[in-house]
Amino acid sequence: MMGINVYLALIAIATLLSTYRVFRGPTTVDRLVAVDIMTTVTTGLMVLFALYYGRMIYISVALVYALLAFGGVIAFARYLEGGL
């Protein structure tokens, strides 16, 4: 048993490295790819927090967050493509 803090630290490392790409990325699509990865990582983080606090209702929050992030990324992709 390593404890939940190790997993939260690994997720924090992933988010920090993605943030580097958001600020550094040469093109707009690079930044958007990094944001997409960050939303995926945040969904996993919310599910872990549901276990951390012992409340099952927080998993529904993660589900709604994943749905909204998916819609947002699709809308941004259509906009960059020029079809919105």
């Binding site: 790409r21 969904t43 998993i59 998916f70 259509r78 960059l80």
Partner: protein, 130 residues
């Protein structure tokens, strides 16, 4: 601490490890296509590990079995939608004309467009003659 909790915790560890690997691919890869390739695949696998592992871990800790139903619902949703958003983003990148890395050797979409162009040019005079 029973077997279900140990399996779930191992899955969570593997999933978070894949999360950090996907962010590393985001940093290390040379152009936007390679970055999307590495990071989306490993982030999807990591999400499956973390979310299903959390459900198993919670059941092993003594919470209700509804945890695993909800976590599998979230994991299935991510498994369905992550490739779609990746595909839409890469399509937008290609349509915007972002160049491939100089070491890339194959571009099937450009070949497909060129072949379609040729077929169109070959068919056009035929229609005129008829």
């Amino acid at each position: 601490m029973n077997a279900l909790a140990i399996i779930g915790e191992a899955l969570v560890l593997i999933g978070t490890f894949f999360y950090s690997l996907s962010a590393l691919g985001l940093i290390r890869m040379p152009d936007v296509y390679n970055r999307m390739q590495t990071s989306t695949k490993s982030a999807t696998l990591g999400s499956l590990g973390v979310i299903v592992g959390t459900g198993l871990w919670a059941v092993g800790k003594g919470y209700s079995p509804a945890w695993i139903v909800q976590t599998i619902a979230v994991a299935g949703f991510l498994l369905l939608t992550n490739p779609i958003s990746a595909h839409a983003l890469i399509r937008a990148a290609y349509k915007r004309g972002i160049p491939l890395w100089h070491g890339s050797v194959v571009d099937k979409y450009a070949e497909y467009l060129a072949s379609k162009e040729q077929v169109g040019n070959a068919e056009a005079p035929e229609e005129v003659s008829e």
